[in-house]
C-alpha cells in the first residue's frame, strides 16, 4: 500500500492510496459530518452533508472522494457551512421531524448534526407530507415520516444481511422505503434480523420493544458475546436501572457488519416467561418452596441415593459453568453430556476412522464469502446460525455457486444454484456423490444401478453429476454441514467427500459454546434413576425433555419456567444469560468474554460456587 499526503484545513495528513477523504480524516480525529455513510456498507454519497472544498474550487462529498497526493481539503469554509446548513435544514423541514416525541430523540444522528451546526431557527417552512407507517412487524416499525432517504437500511439489508428486502419505492418526493414489492414488512422476505433499525440514523426505523425506554447516552452499556448460537456475535447491551433496553451488534466487527439475528437482538427483549427465584420441590403433587441451601442439600441427597445418574447441560453456558457442573456430576458418579456434544463425538469418530486432518476445518467462517463454491447440506442454518446464513447469501449474491441439499424446505432456494431435495437427509445421496467422486462418472452412468442405490430418493442422477462437476471445477469450495445432521454415515460421506475434493469444512452443532469440543462428554443412561439437567435459559431441548421423562427422579436447574421445570421433581434456579459471566468458545475456536449485564436478582449469585459446594456434599 502506498501512502499519499494531503492537507485538511491546513493540516498535513498521510493516508493510504485508495482511501476516502472521510476515512483518512477519521483516522486523524477529524470527524466530517455524515448521514448516509456507514463503515459496514458501500458508500453512495447520497446525503450531501459531508461536502468539502477540494483544491479551492470543487465541492465533493468526503465519503466518495479518494485521497490524492497534495489534495487541499477544507471542511469548514463559509460556503461549505452554508450549503451544509441548507441541506440539513431541507432534510429536517421536509419530513415530519417532531423531535420531542420521536423515539430517537437524543439518539439521532440528524438531530446531532442540527445541534452541532447551530441550527436554532429555520428559513424554510415545514412541508407536512403524510407518509405511511408500517408497524405490521413483530419487532420493527418503519416510519417513513422520519426517513431521510440515506439508504443505510436498504444497503444494510442487501450488503450486510444479504437479504434485499428493503428498497426505495417511488421517485423524487415520493421516494420511500418499502419492503419487497411494497408489502407490509410482516409479510415480506424480512428475516427479522433488525440490522436496518440498528443502522438507521434517525427515528425512521425503530425497535418496538425498546422504544421510549431510554436514550442510549443515559443507559449502561455492556459489551458481551451472544450465546444463542456458536457464531457468537459481539453484542452491545443497553440497560437502565437494571432493565434491558436494547441489544445491538458491535459494529466494530467489520465482517459481520454489526449484525445480530432475531434470537440475539429481539428474543431476550420479548421474553416474558416467569423467572425462577426459589427452589421448588415437588412431593405428592404439591409444590414446596425452599431456600437455596436446602435445595442444594436435597439435590446432593438425591444424587447420593441414585445408582444410575445422567447429567446433561445446555450448550449455551459458559466454560466455567460447564466445567464446574461436569466436575460436580462426576464426583457424584454421573454420566455427563452436553447438548450438541453427541454430534461432535460422531464427528470425532469419523475423523479418526478416515484419518482426517484438522486442516480441513475452517477457523474463520467469514471465509465463506471468499469461496467460489459452497455446498450446504441441511439448510436449517438459516434458523440455527442466522449470521452465518447471511454470509452464505452474500456469497451467493456475489457470484459464489451455492448448492443446497435438504430434506425439508430449502431455506436458501432464492440463492441456490442447485437445490436438491431428499426425502430426509439420508445416507444414500451422500454415498452416491461420494461414489462418483471416488469411482468416476462411469459408476453412475448405469442408471439402473443408480436407481437401485437411490431407492426412494427424489433426486435425479443429473443433479448428482452437477454437484460433482462443480466441486471438481472449483478452486476454493466450502462444505457446510448443518447441525440437524446426526447420522454417522452422512457425516462420514461428507467428510470423505471433503477429503477427496480437498474441500474445506464447516461443521455445525447445536451448542453455542464450542468448548464442548474440549470437554469430556459421553452418552448418558437413557433411563436413569436420577437425571440432573442444567438447562439455563433453554426450554425446548428434546434430549433434555426425553431424559427427565425417563428418569425416576429429575432435577432441573433453570432460570425460567418451562416445560422442563413443569416436569421436574426438583427445580433449582440458575442464572440468566445476562447474569452469567465467564468465557465461551465460538465456532472459529476463539475464546470470547461473556460479561455480566445485570446483577443476579435471586439468592443464587454464582453457579460455580453452587456446583463446587454440591461436589463437596458427596
Amino acid at each position: 500500500m502506498s501512502t499519499v499526503k494531503f492537507t485538511v484545513d491546513g493540516e498535513k495528513i498521510s493516508a493510504e492510496k485508495g482511501e476516502t477523504v472521510m476515512s483518512a480524516c477519521k483516522k486523524h480525529g477529524i470527524d466530517i459530518p455524515k448521514l448516509c455513510q456507514h463503515d459496514a456498507m458501500e458508500n453512495v454519497m447520497a446525503c450531501r452533508v459531508c461536502i468539502v472544498e477540494v483544491n479551492g474550487e470543487q465541492i465533493q462529498p468526503a465519503c466518495g472522494l479518494k485521497v490524492e497526493e497534495d489534495l487541499e481539503i477544507k471542511t469548514e469554509t463559509d460556503e461549505i457551512k452554508k450549503y451544509r446548513r441548507m441541506n440539513l435544514e431541507l432534510i429536517y423541514r421536509s419530513e415530519n421531524h417532531y423531535c420531542m416525541f420521536c423515539e430517537s430523540d437524543g439518539d439521532c444522528e440528524l438531530q446531532d448534526l442540527m445541534w452541532e451546526n447551530g441550527i436554532d431557527y429555520f428559513e424554510h417552512p415545514r412541508l407536512f407530507p403524510d407518509r405511511p407507517i408500517d408497524s405490521s412487524h413483530e419487532h420493527i416499525v418503519i416510519d417513513n415520516n422520519r426517513c431521510i432517504r440515506c439508504g443505510r437500511c436498504v444497503r444494510a439489508c442487501e450488503e450486510v444481511v444479504g437479504n434485499q428486502t428493503l428498497a426505495f419505492g417511488g421517485r423524487g418526493l415520493e421516494n420511500e422505503i418499502v419492503a419487497d414489492a411494497d408489502v407490509p414488512l410482516k409479510e415480506s422476505t424480512c428475516v427479522s434480523c433488525g440490522m436496518c433499525l440498528q443502522v438507521c440514523p434517525t427515528g425512521a426505523i425503530f425497535n418496538k420493544h425498546s422504544m421510549f425506554k431510554g436514550i442510549k447516552d443515559e443507559c449502561d452499556l455492556t459489551e458481551s458475546t451472544c450465546l444463542r448460537c456458536s457464531v457468537g456475535c459481539e453484542t452491545e447491551i443497553y440497560t437502565r436501572t437494571g432493565h434491558l433496553v436494547e441489544i445491538e451488534g458491535a459494529e466494530s466487527e467489520m465482517e459481520s457488519g454489526g449484525q445480530l439475528c432475531e434470537m440475539g437482538r429481539f428474543e431476550p427483549l420479548v421474553d416474558r416467561t416467569e423467572k425462577i427465584d426459589d427452589v421448588i420441590y415437588k412431593e405428592n403433587e404439591t409444590e414446596k418452596e425452599m431456600s437455596l441451601a436446602k435445595g442444594l442439600e436435597k439435590a446432593a441427597e438425591v444424587l447420593d441415593e441414585g445408582d444410575k445418574i445422567s447429567a446433561m447441560a445446555s450448550g449455551n453456558l459458559t466454560n466455567e459453568v460447564l466445567d464446574s457442573f461436569s466436575e460436580a456430576m462426576r464426583t457424584h458418579g454421573a454420566l455427563f453430556d452436553v447438548v450438541g456434544a453427541k454430534r461432535h463425538r460422531f464427528e470425532k469418530e469419523v475423523k479418526r476412522r478416515i484419518n482426517m486432518i484438522e486442516g480441513h476445518f475452517i477457523d474463520d467462517i467469514t471465509e465463506v464469502m471468499k469461496a467460489d463454491h459452497i455446498l450446504l447440506y441441511d439448510t436449517s442454518v438459516r434458523d440455527t446460525h442466522p449470521v452465518l446464513a447471511s454470509y452464505i447469501r452474500r456469497a451467493a449474491m456475489n457470484g459464489t455457486r451455492l448448492i443446497t441439499i435438504d430434506a425439508y424446505e430449502d431455506r436458501f432456494w432464492e440463492h441456490s444454484d442447485i437445490s436438491i431435495s431428499v426425502e430426509s437427509p439420508k445416507t444414500q445421496l451422500t454415498r452416491l456423490i461420494n461414489q462418483v467422486v471416488r469411482e468416476g462418472k462411469g459408476s453412475i452412468e448405469d442408471l439402473t444401478r443408480v436407481s437401485s442405490i437411490l431407492g426412494g430418493l427424489r433426486v435425479h442422477p443429473r443433479d448428482v453429476m452437477q454437484v460433482v462437476k462443480h466441486l471438481e471445477e472449483s478452486t476454493y469450495d466450502i462444505i457446510i454441514l448443518g447441525s440437524e445432521i446426526i447420522d454417522r454415515w452422512s457425516i462420514r460421506h461428507i467428510f470423505e467427500l471433503a477429503k477427496l475434493e480437498g474441500s474445506y469444512l464447516i461443521s455445525l452443532n447445536q451448542a453455542s459454546n464450542q468448548y464442548i469440543r474440549s470437554l469430556e462428554t459421553e452418552g448418558v443412561y437413557e433411563e436413569p434413576d436420577v437425571a440432573y439437567v442444567l438447562a439455563g435459559d433453554e426450554d425446548d431441548q428434546e434430549d433434555m425433555k426425553k431424559l427427565i421423562e425417563n428418569a425416576d427422579f429429575s432435577i432441573v436447574q433453570a432460570s425460567k419456567r418451562s416445560e422442563l421445570t413443569e416436569k421436574a421433581d426438583l427445580v433449582i434456579p440458575s442464572l440468566t444469560m445476562f447474569e452469567r459471566e465467564g468465557t465461551s468458545v465460538n465456532i472459529n475456536g476463539e475464546e470470547k468474554e461473556v460479561e455480566r449485564v445485570m446483577e443476579p436478582k435471586g439468592e443464587l449469585k454464582s453457579e460455580r460456587e453452587f456446583f463446587e459446594e454440591l461436589a463437596e456434599k458427596r
Partner: protein, 599 residues
C-alpha cells in the same frame, strides 16, 4: 411521363398529423388511374423519417423535381395525382408559402436552405426500414473502411481531430472518451448508445433513430472496433415505439445480411447490438443511471469516478455516446476529420440538430452549422410568429438557460453558450415572444426537473421543491422581499451540492432568467404585477367607467368568457370572470374600459 419517386414523411409528427391517411389515399388514386406499373409501391413510394418542418405535416416530396407539398388533406391527393403525376403540372395552390411567395422545391424552403444536413443526411430521404436503401446511400461504407483499412488508433485519432464533441449535453470530446476506453486492458468492453432523450419537447434523437437507424448501428460498430468492444446496447425510451420498431428491423436486417455478427467484412472483428427499452424516467438519461438500468437495477445515478470509460456496464470499460454523436461517426470516417473540422466554429465543429419550438413560424427540427447565430436560427424557423417581438430563447432544455434579445447575434456553439450562462444541452430551442412571462418559463422547467428528480440526494429532491414553491408563491402574488435572495441561495446549494447533472443543472433556468430578467421577478414580488399578464393571479380585471359608457354593447360581443353584463346606465364587468385579455377595451368606441380596480 417522367419516372418519379414519391417520398412521404412518416416521422412521428407527420404520422400524428395524418400521414398514413395521405398514403392510403395516394395508393387508391394510383390504383384508380392504373398507375401501379409506373409507380410500383416498393420502388416509387417511400416512407421516410422526419423531413424537418414538422408543422407542415403531412407532407410529400415528389422527385426528381423535388416538389414539396405540405399540410396536405386527403382530398388534395387526387389533385396531385391528376395534375402533377399525370399532366406534369405543379399544383401551385398546394405549395407552401415562404414570406408570401410560393416555394416549389423542398431544398428552396427557407427552413431547409439555412440548414446543413449531416446528422440528418438520410432522414427524410431514405426508407428507414430498408437496409437496401441505406446501402444505396453509401451505408456501411465507413464501417467497412474503418474495420478493413484503418488501425484502431487511427480511427480514434481521426475522431479526435474532427473536433466532434458529445451531443448528449456535456459536450465532452468524443475521441478522447474513446481513447480512455481503448486504453483499458480488459477483454469485455461495451458500446452504449444513449437514446433516452428525456428533455421535454426534444425529438432530434428520436428522428434519427426513426429515420436512419442503420447510421447509429454503423457509428456504434466503428466505436466498438476502435475501442475493442464487441457488444453494443441501444437504450431507447418506451415512448418511442416507431424508433423501437425501426431499430429492431434494422438490427435484424443487419444481422441477416452480415453487417452485424461475427467476422464482419471478413475480418476477425465481431460486433452485436442489442436494444434495451427504458421506462422513461428522465434521470435514466444520465449515463451512470442508464447503465444501472441496462443492468436491470434501479435507474439511479452512481458516483463518478470511476467514469464509464473505465468502469461502466457490469464494471467493464464502456463507451457511452448520444444518438446524434454516433450519427456523425460514419460520415467523419467517410469524408475525413478535416472536412468535418472545417464545418462549424473553432471549438465546436460540425452541426447540431435543434428542436425548434415556441413562438416561431415553423417549428420542427433544424440542423444548423455550429456558429449559426440565434437570429439566423429564428429566420430559418420563419421568424417570430404573429409579427410579435422577440424576447428571448430558451436553449438546452431544463438544464439550459435563457438568452435575451440583446444577445440575439450570439453564435450558437459550446463556448459562446456557456459564456452566456446556458448550455447546448441536447438541443432544445424554444423561442419566446414578448408576451412570455420569464418567471413562468423558469417555473415550467423547474417543475419538470423537480418531478423528475430521482430522490437520492436532498438538494435535488428537496431544494428544487422549495424553489418551485417560492416561484409558485411569486406567480401567485404572494412573493416576499427576501424570496429572490432565498431563491438564489437555494439555487446555489442545489447547483453545487447535488449528486448528478440533473440536480446540478436544474437551477439554470431560474438563474439565467434571474440574471437577464430580474426586473420581471421584482415586478412580481414588489409591485405584485406580471408585466406580460401571464400570471393569472396578478392581472387585474378590466372595468367600465359608468359615466363614459354609451351602452353600445360592442364589448359583450368580443368578451371570450362572457364576463360583461348589460345594465340601464352602463355595462359592467364581473371581475372574477374577467381574464384581462383586454379585447373589450380595444373595441370600446369611447374608451370607457380600462384595466385596474374600479376605485
Amino acid at each position: 411521363m417522367t419516372r418519379r419517386e414519391i417520398l412521404i414523411c412518416s416521422g412521428t409528427g407527420c404520422l400524428s398529423a395524418g400521414a398514413e391517411e395521405i398514403e392510403d389515399k395516394l395508393m387508391d388514386e394510383l390504383w384508380k388511374h392504373e398507375l401501379e406499373d409506373k409507380y410500383p409501391v416498393t420502388r416509387a413510394i417511400k416512407r421516410t423519417g422526419c423531413m424537418g418542418p414538422c408543422n407542415l405535416g403531412p407532407m410529400i416530396i415528389i422527385r426528381p423535381e423535388d416538389t414539396f407539398y405540405g399540410n396536405l388533406e386527403p382530398s388534395d391527393v387526387e389533385t396531385i395525382v391528376e395534375e402533377h403525376l399525370l399532366k406534369d403540372r405543379v399544383v401551385r395552390n398546394l405549395l407552401i408559402e415562404d414570406d408570401g411567395h410560393k416555394v416549389e422545391e423542398f431544398q428552396k424552403l427557407d427552413f431547409i436552405q439555412g440548414q446543413k444536413k449531416i446528422v440528418m443526411r438520410n432522414s427524410g430521404d431514405i426508407d428507414p426500414s430498408s437496409l437496401e436503401d441505406y446501402l444505396e446511400n453509401d451505408g456501411y461504407m465507413a464501417a467497412r473502411k474503418a474495420i478493413t483499412d484503418m488501425e484502431r488508433e487511427e480511427i480514434i485519432e481521426e475522431i479526435k481531430e474532427s473536433g466532434l464533441r458529445g451531443r448528449g449535453g456535456a459536450g465532452f470530446p468524443t475521441g478522447l472518451k474513446w481513447e480512455f476506453t481503448a486504453r483499458e486492458d480488459e477483454d469485455e468492453k461495451y458500446v452504449v448508445c444513449n437514446g433516452d432523450e428525456g428533455d421535454p419537447g426534444a425529438f432530434m434523437d428520436r428522428s434519427v433513430l426513426e429515420g436512419d437507424p442503420h447510421s447509429i448501428i454503423e457509428g456504434m460498430m466503428i466505436a466498438g472496433y476502435a475501442v475493442g468492444a464487441n457488444k453494443g446496447y441501444i437504450y431507447v425510451r418506451a415512448e418511442y415505439p416507431l424508433a423501437i420498431r425501426n431499430l429492431q428491423k434494422a438490427i435484424r436486417d443487419a444481422e441477416s445480411e452480415g453487417y452485424l455478427g461475427e467476422n464482419l467484412f471478413n475480418t476477425q472483428f465481431d460486433f452485436n447490438v442489442e436494444l434495451r427499452v427504458g421506462a422513461g424516467a428522465f434521470v435514466c438519461g444520465e449515463e451512470t443511471a442508464l447503465l444501472s438500468s441496462i443492468e436491470g437495477k434501479q435507474g439511479r445515478p452512481k458516483y463518478r469516478p470511476p467514469y464509464p470509460a473505465q468502469s461502466g456496464l457490469w464494471d467493464q470499460p464502456t463507451v457511452i455516446n448520444n444518438v446524434e454523436t454516433f450519427a456523425n461517426i460514419p460520415i467523419i470516417i467517410e469524408k475525413g476529420s478535416e472536412w468535418f473540422d472545417d464545418i462549424g466554429t473553432e471549438g465546436s465543429s460540425g452541426t447540431k440538430v435543434f428542436a425548434v419550438a415556441g413562438d416561431v413560424g415553423n417549428t420542427g427540427l433544424v440542423e444548423a452549422e455550429m456558429g449559426t447565430t440565434i437570429e439566423e436560427m429564428i429566420d430559418i424557423a420563419g421568424g417570430v410568429a404573429g409579427g410579435k417581438d422577440f424576447k428571448a430563447v430558451q436553449i438546452g432544455g431544463p438544464a439550459g438557460g435563457t438568452i435575451p434579445e440583446e444577445h440575439i447575434d450570439l453564435p450558437i456553439d459550446y463556448d459562446s453558450l456557456e459564456e452566456a450562462g446556458t448550455i447546448m444541452g441536447s438541443g432544445g430551442f424554444i423561442v419566446l415572444d414578448e408576451d412570455t412571462c420569464m418567471v413562468d418559463v423558469a417555473k415550467f422547467f423547474l417543475d419538470f426537473t423537480q418531478e423528475e428528480s430521482c430522490g437520492k440526494c436532498p438538494p435535488c429532491r428537496l431544494g428544487t421543491k422549495r424553489m418551485l414553491d417560492i416561484l409558485d408563491k411569486i406567480t401567485k402574488g404572494e412573493g416576499e422581499s427576501e424570496d429572490l435572495e432565498t431563491l438564489e441561495e437555494l439555487a446555489e446549494t442545489v447547483q453545487n451540492t447535488s449528486f448528478c447533472g440533473l440536480g446540478q443543472a436544474s437551477p439554470n433556468p431560474v438563474l439565467s432568467t434571474l440574471r437577464f430578467f430580474r426586473e420581471e421577478y421584482e415586478a412580481h414580488v414588489n409591485e405584485k404585477e406580471c408585466p406580460t399578464g401571464t400570471c393569472k393571479a396578478l392581472v387585474e380585471a378590466f372595468y367600465i367607467d359608468e359615466e363614459a359608457c354609451v351602452t353600445c354593447g360592442k364589448c359583450t360581443e368580443v368578451c371570450p368568457v362572457d364576463a360583461i353584463s348589460s345594465g340601464d346606465e352602463s355595462y359592467s364587468i364581473d371581475p372574477d370572470t374577467c381574464i384581462s385579455c383586454g379585447e373589450c377595451a380595444q373595441v370600446c368606441p369611447v374608451e370607457a374600459i380600462s384595466e385596474g380596480d374600479n376605485e
